[in-house]
Subunit: 151 residues, 4 copies
């Protein structure tokens, strides 16, 4: 930690130091062994397992999905999400996940969030022919996912 | 938590949720019972006790004091400090302490940091006729203390 | 940390290191300034303020109070409680609060839990002529409170 | 959390809730894809990368290795280790790692600790023809590793 900027210091504390080193070593090992698109796929499988163990519960409207997701994210200090219905897709923005702190610049790690949201939409029966994929993030700590027709 | 700004979300995580409610209730009780200058004095006494339990060790140059202080602050995730020698005083800036997150706007809580630094300078024998006092902070998460001749 | 026993190591981690030093310095200052019965009373006032900021919500049966309390304690990693109706009183046992880790042996710190529970029962309108008081704890990490007719 | 035993409650808090779900989902995915001996090998590769990023520093005697290791483990709240010279081997006991809380019963996860210790002994030049392997743990929260001639 060489910066003296409060935001940078708070951001660094945004990932539990107990697991920071483990997660970085894990990512390094993954990145050394697998090509980038397989990394994202592996992370998505882990994300779907997370969703399975943290079920979203019953939700009808998209606002309820957002609220239920934020209840789960809040409990584990993983930041917050917003979901916005758009033409033919749902745009999901996830702010301040600890994974972004641990693995800054490794965009394939968004696969995890993609897998979690896909798992949740699957539980809700909203996934006929749809998939959740990561898109270019608007900012390092704002990750962007989209539920849309699978290509 | 209603904000969606990553900085705000990271800042909120900058104070352990285990103690946030306790510290706020404590501050509310203090503020209800004591006038502001006594609040700062009480916090300073607590700070000096903290310094006594977390001795700064041997330091000769001011840079060593800064390093030793940051080692202690780093271990407990209390942010970081910088110390700068000025004409007749030492200016201490402390970035991102969790107390600023818990007690935003309660400037009397700077008394704690003032007491800690004063305790450390006392251990180093640097305090003949000097005292550490809080000054107007340059920003909510940048607290300003000054070691100078006691008024 | 000199012990090598896993239980002791886990217990030590049961209080966030960010606030351990602050809380101990605070307790030391309190204990130096106030007699023991006033310490418990001060802690109880802080506890009631905590209850006010963390309302228990609507509960009818005692089991619902226990569940609602454990939801709040769970969110902040303060352990768990059990409530048991007895002749003319409710016995509350609170397991593994971080305050017991921080302030081992300072039984007056139970005043905080007593104040929180009293605040919650007050919110529920269950307090006509009753009070919550701490009793001798069955074990260092099992604190005992009782809702009973105020003496 | 259904237990009311303080030890069980403290143990549960021994793994940061921020990463518990992630680590469990990760382990589930690993265990579904790889046979057990490859799981341990994968964990060991991750462990060696951790050691590389957290160098043990200069140590001559085994007691210094233990102290340096515990400084690193202490900073990240990973419990503590003891190292004991025996005939032709060094026995390492590691108490209270959060991995044991997250992945209780998955003994292959000891591969991580084996890899970390092996990486550290490699940095110290102590590894000619030797390897670190996990052995049957004396207790769920006491993991056992051994530095010995590679088989």
């Amino acid at each position: 930690m060489t910066s003296f900027d409060p935001s940078t210091l708070f951001r660094a504390r945004g990932c539990s130091r107990q697991w920071l080193g483990f997660v970085r070593a894990l990512a390094e090992e993954f990145a050394a062994e697998l090509p980038e698109h397989e990394l994202a796929t592996l992370m998505a499988r882990i994300g779907r397992r997370f969703a399975h163990r943290h079920p979203i519960g019953e939700c009808v409207a998209l606002g309820e999905v957002e609220t239920a997701a934020n209840r789960i994210w809040g409990e584990v200090e993983w930041g917050q999400c917003r979901m916005e219905e758009q033409a033919g897709s749902v745009e999901i923005t996830h702010a301040a996940p600890p994974l972004a702190v641990a693995l800054t610049g490794m965009d394939w790690s968004d696969g995890f969030l993609a897998g979690v949201y896909e798992g949740w939409f699957q539980q809700l029966g909203m996934l006929a022919g749809l998939a959740v994929n990561a898109e270019r993030p608007p900012a390092p700590d704002l990750r962007r996912l989209r539920l849309a027709r699978a290509v």
